[in-house]
């Protein structure tokens, strides 16, 4: 017994009360009748207002299938066509990690938390101003995500702003992601022509084209809609080209209530959902078997200034409603949540993130995006914020897991025993059994007594977060791309992160 416990202490097994794929969907800001009205209006929008500027291949294929151009030259989708497409569309999207432990089965209200990003600034540990983000920052973010249990996959969290050539930037971004994590990675492309060369590099990492397509550990997609209700050419092409991954395509739209979407929140939900469906239909007419993760991300404008605000109560509830609608269709969903407007990981950041992330997760969002380290209305990434968010996500996911009610958990007998026995539950079988599996423990949240806290230097969570970031990033230099392959990749592609920047002793950590 004694030896066993010692062994456990040396090699602690991380047991968690939460994990990826918990079933959500209990929070429904719309009533059943609201859902029906929103649905009907969405069909009206797609059938009568339609979408402007479809790219040629989409227009051609859609017209072949009975869609039509209206008198304003807009592509309209008849309701029967939309309903058939929804019925026919894949309901589940399987995401592969490079390690099967990180596979994600997305769909049917199963909650995952990952992704988003493309911030252009970094808030360094302890810093009080932003600096432009670089490729090394994306690599570090990938390494950190690799170690965050509640961040289930990676996306391009920051942009390598120092790289001017966009193809080079896209390839390098994919490279440092694969070098930093074994989790699935969602990629973005400035141009459709960048998909193939990036895939070529990923094939090398996977050990061959077939190997990659057996378990495609990256996928592609984009924001193909310029709200209101118009396709954007470049990103439409990227979304269609991303079918080549043989993985789900992500399609995100972001109409801003008050500016590019109705100020009435119901209208914002209608438009965002209609646009996301239009994005899905675009991929669908080209290849109906490719799963699409629909991202109706209704954004909110601060109408005092016109600026985008991601941290409001409106943002939280309207995003949850959009998730509800995608769940109504039974399709894979994503929304942005955690897009705080605060510039630092402070109280404002905490409440704004928690509110939006909790509602989206409770609504049963398959990909609660933008929840890992974003600050400043999506303008910056903070690694301190990311490790705090990991705690936050753990707590939110615990609320998604909810309360298991059965004869055993109702605990009548345990109560009876305790009342007639020791008078407390600390030593019961039940407590021992649940203390690890039923409770989620934050790594950073301070639960010391006030006295202990003062003795420990009265630090706040940001300081603790900074320490954790430093400790992980100064030691976690994984070798996820073997040296021989790495050398070959560097021969063929202009990789701009030098090997010495990817091992201990670099100037960063």
């Amino acid at each position: 017994m004694r030896r066993g416990r010692k062994a456990r202490q040396q090699k602690p097994q991380k047991i968690s009360a939460v994990g990826p794929g918990l079933p959500g969907g209990r929070f429904r800001p719309l009533t059943r009748s609201d859902e029906q009205q929103v649905h009907k209006t969405i069909l009206d929008v797609l059938e009568n207002i339609g979408m402007g500027d479809p790219i040629p291949i989409v227009k051609e294929k859609a017209l072949e299938r009975g869609c039509f151009m209206n008198e304003h030259g807009r592509l309209c989708f008849p309701r029967a066509f939309v309903e058939d497409a929804i019925a026919r569309a894949p309901k589940n999207a399987h995401f592969f990690g490079r390690d099967p432990r990180h596979d994600m089965d997305v769909g049917d209200g199963r909650v995952h938390t990952y992704g988003g990003g493309e911030a252009v600034n970094m808030l360094d540990v302890g810093a009080s101003s932003y600096r432009p983000s670089t490729l090394a920052d994306l690599y570090d973010a990938a390494r950190l995500v690799d170690r965050m249990d509640n961040i289930h996959a990676l996306a391009r969290l920051v942009v390598a702003t120092e790289i001017e050539d966009q193809l080079t930037c896209d390839i390098n971004s994919a490279y440092v992601s694969a070098a930093g994590t074994l989790k699935h990675t969602q990629l973005t492309f400035a141009d459709a022509s960048h998909v193939q060369p990036t895939l070529e590099m990923l094939y090398m990492i996977a050990g061959g084209k077939e190997k990659f397509h057996e378990r495609p550990f990256c996928n592609g997609g984009g924001c193909p809609v310029i709200s209101p209700l118009r396709y954007g050419q470049d990103n439409s092409e990227v979304c269609v080209e991303s079918i080549a991954f043989g993985a789900p395509v992500w399609v995100t739209v972001a109409p801003q209530a008050g500016a590019t979407a109705p100020a009435a929140l119901a209208g914002a939900v209608v438009q965002a959902t209609a646009e996301a469906l239009a994005g899905m239909l675009m991929v669908h007419v080209v290849d109906p078997d490719t799963p699409v993760v629909l991202g109706p991300w209704p954004f909110v404008s601060d109408l005092r200034t016109g600026s985008f605000t991601g941290g409001s109560g409106e943002e939280a509830v309207v995003s949850a409603a959009a998730v509800q609608m995608i769940n109504f269709y039974g399709l894979p969903s994503s929304v942005g949540a955690g897009m705080t407007d605060s510039k630092t990981p402070d109280y404002q950041a905490g409440y704004e993130k928690a509110l939006a992330i909790a509602l989206a997760a409770q609504a049963g969002c398959n990909d609660v995006s933008e929840c890992s380290g974003m600050l400043g209305s999506l303008m910056a990434l903070s690694l301190e914020s990311m490790v705090i968010d990991n705690d936050l996500l753990g707590a939110v996911l615990r609320t998604v897991r909810g309360i298991e009610v059965n004869e055993e958990t109702l605990s009548y007998e345990v109560m009876q025993q305790v009342v007639h026995g020791e008078g407390h539950y600390l030593r019961t079988e039940q407590t021992l059994g649940l203390m690890r599996t039923g409770y989620e423990y934050p790594a950073l949240a301070n639960r010391l007594t006030p006295g202990e806290w003062e003795e420990a230097g009265s630090t706040d969570i940001r300081q603790a977060a900074g320490e954790r970031v430093k400790s992980i990033l100064s030691s976690h230099y994984p070798d996820y791309i073997d040296p021989a392959t790495d050398a070959k990749i560097r021969e063929r592609f202009p990789i701009l992160l030098a090997p010495e920047n990817m091992r201990p002793g670099n100037q960063r950590w």
Binding site: D234, Q256, G258, A259, S301, R304
Partner: protein
């Protein structure tokens, strides 16, 4: 509108100073028809177009500007005011150009090639109109040729470029370099904006100014126009 409210204020019955004050209120409330009517009345009473522009319209919009800055007025209200201003300008514009009076200024604006973000650009355009500028909006995804053609053809004073992506920001320099090459850089005031930009970037690419938001854009445009004349 006036029929419904004729028991209230009849613009044509107001003496000049009260009419101007009423127009300030009407601008504040974004009443385009009333502003058009008031503008016409002042002209009919023998006011010159520049006088009407300056006292009634620009004066009124200045109040709107202050209350916007102080957070009393919201963006949609300011845009309604700008729209009312535009209605007055529509009447004044032909007279101003006929008499050779100097208009407030003309701006060509657009989001640069490769970039589709246009909310900020639209806001700047409307605010500039609210300040009396004539604005030619080229939309999104605008290349250097199109910008240059538009400023030359329209004899604009200001070129405004918007970029929200670090990947499209460098294109602003391409446009400015093209102006240089064509030997026309000094003919124009170049303003740039967009969330990822900053002062240093504006300076580095040779713009006249980077503007943080639409209100700053209006102030800077006015300043630089005044300095240029």
């Amino acid at each position: 509108m006036t029929e419904e409210y004729d028991d209230e204020i009849i613009l044509s019955e107001l003496p000049d100073d009260e009419l101007v004050e009423q127009m300030h209120d009407d601008l504040y409330d974004g009443l385009a028809d009333e502003i058009a009517e008031g503008t016409q009345i002042l002209l009919d009473r023998g006011w010159s177009a520049p006088q009407v522009l300056d006292k009634a319209l620009v004066g009124g919009m200045a109040i709107v500007g202050v209350d916007f800055r102080d957070g009393i007025l919201f963006v949609p209200e300011v845009l309604m005011a700008a729209n009312a201003m535009k209605a007055g300008m529509a009447i004044l514009k032909p007279i101003l150009s006929e008499t050779g009076a100097k208009p407030v200024g003309k701006m060509v604006i657009g989001t640069v090639k490769g970039d589709i973000h246009d909310i900020g650009k639209n806001l700047v355009g409307m605010m500039m109109e609210g300040a009396g500028f004539e604005v030619i909006d080229l939309g999104i995804n605008v290349d250097a040729e199109t910008y240059i053609e538009a400023i030359e053809e329209n004899q604009a004073n200001i070129l405004g470029m918007s970029a929200l992506l670090t990947t499209t920001m460098p294109y602003m320099k391409v446009v400015i370099d093209a102006l240089q090459e064509a030997g026309i850089r000094d003919k124009y005031i170049v303003l740039v904006g967009g969330a990822p930009l900053n002062d240093e970037f504006g300076e580095m690419i040779g713009a006249d100014a980077y503007c943080r938001d639409a209100a700053v854009a209006v102030d800077v445009a006015k300043e630089l126009m005044a300095a240029a004349s």
